[in-house]
């Protein structure tokens, strides 16, 4: 008549407790599970002409190539050009990724650094 309580609890465990992979775990593990690495740059919003490739070597995480998409070669994250966008007015949009989250504002000649806080959903001048 009534379901066995042990069987009931086992069913609950599998359905209501969801294991979330450790984002700091080995990169190969997250690649195998198909889970995006939150530390990687969002591929859809990367700078034009630059693509990302998962690699055990953090220094050569990115690739650059010429206009036709040929001659790809690794490039260090330190050598990325034009990463921080310079705006002429205070940003008001909702930031979607790391690149979008930090802006340089040229306020009448004075350079200001602005960051987007996801928790409060607004921009702050540093």
């Amino acid at each position: 008549m009534a379901q066995d309580p042990i069987q009931q609890m086992e069913e609950m465990e599998s359905r209501y407790r969801i294991n979330v992979p450790d984002p700091k775990a080995a990169e190969s593990l997250s690649v195998n599970m198909g889970v995006p690495d939150p530390q990687s740059v969002d591929q859809n919003n990367a700078q034009p002409g630059k693509t990302q490739k998962s690699s055990p070597d953090q220094e050569t995480e990115f690739q650059e190539h010429d206009h036709n998409g040929l001659n790809s070669k690794p490039v260090s994250i330190r050598n990325l050009k034009d990463f921080f966008e310079v705006l002429s007015a205070t940003p008001t949009h909702k930031a979607k990724n790391a690149w979008d989250q930090i802006k340089i504002v040229n306020n009448a000649g004075t350079r200001e650094l602005w960051v987007y806080d996801y928790l409060t959903a607004d921009w702050h001048k540093i």
Binding site: A2, Y16, V20, G34, P38, Y118
Partner: protein, 486 residues
Amino acid sequence: MLNLPHFRIDYHDFLRGSNSYVNYPDGGFLSTSYGINIFNTPGLLTTTPHKSETVHSSLGSSEPIIAWGLGPSSSGLGGELVALGVTGSSDGVFYNVNSSSGNITANGSADTTQAYNGNGFVDAIQYQGSWYFTSRVNVIKCSIDLNTKDLTFWTTTKSKSSLQQYSPHPMVVYNDILWIADQNYLHSLDGSTASTQVFDLPSGWVITAMCIYNNLIYMAAEPYWNASGFYHGQAKIFTWNGYSDSWLDEYDVDTRVNCLYVFDGTLFAFTQYYLGYFDGVRVKYLRPVLNQIFKSQVTQVDNSMFYVDGINMIRYGSPVPGTRKVFVNYIPATASQGYSAIIAHYLKQMIIVEKGNSNGLPYLVSDINAAGGSSESYLQDYNARFFSRPVRVRSVVVETESGLASGQSVDVNYFDHTGASKDAAFFGYSSNEFGTGALQGKNIWRFDVEDGIVTRTIRPSVTVAKDTKLRYVDFYYEQSEDDLNN
């Protein structure tokens, strides 16, 4: 977005029915959710059927219907249905019930000569072509159409002593004899011969419920008057074969039994705090109840047992034949005072009587499995999903059986670990937008979000309106290294 991990709300949740408690996930829905219809289209979720108001005549406001009986009609075709109600002055009112239309019509004037108050004290039964009712102190005999009434049948026509007014008087027909419970005794009416104290329990005991099961009379009793059921301990179930000098067996039950009911070959007992079933030795508890539940508040139709508990109607059945039966919070009462009685015996219809402000409110449900109408809309909460690390909800995908028609809609919410509700605005759409003109004809849609705090708990909440048939809701999430923010 759709390459993110997700969890799904679907038939795995629907077919588990309702939880016994809010935080114990023995079902798929929280115990506080109602209107769950998993019987219309097994595998999909829709709303419970619409209640149509029926015609009633002077239905009492105190306890609209406290007993009802079913028996052969005078023509031999179909069944006859009658009911007994009580006014605010404890007067008894006899009703003819039309089972196909649901109309409840008072037959004659109220009986003001004796008291009928107290659900569980009175009863109604058909015996050898006549209707018999019990009041607090007498047995009333009526013709099959209720037009002729002998209001003092037991004390005047049969010259017997009044029944004990503080004891319940349930009745059963067994071996073509009518048995009437009166404190620790059973009286009998064999054709036209009335006999008193034909069977007796120990002095002081009080019979509270009776039924026929496994070809025996089963009696629930306790050793003191305890109408409200506040006292517990020492209640028993006795069995008798109708002719032995004493009872055959006795079984201990901790609390008062308000109703004994046989469904699907099983004897169910509604005690003060639980619904249980008799396993041959003891009553094993199945599910908690919040109120005393009496015989007039239990019925069965379409291979399901229904009972009403306050404002809740619970259905116990299996949407798919042969599978395990589950408890489902079915049609909720409209009136805040809750249900009075439920009656089902014709096709898949059910007559529902609620307690109202001035008059009892009778309704007819034409098909107990039908999906709801334009006025039906139910918000239902599902068991929470717990995550080993903080996550952020990014998207929901909703799919229905077919393209949405006018009036159909689905709303998706969820509650995070702070208890805050992330509703339609969070997902960037207006409430019920899933059912608006722009989405008419579509059966699958996706809503994305870009912000929101991280959480380790997602408790889904979905509103289904009209006869929308929900197939599933997917919640997409991504893990985050942000700290939880309380």
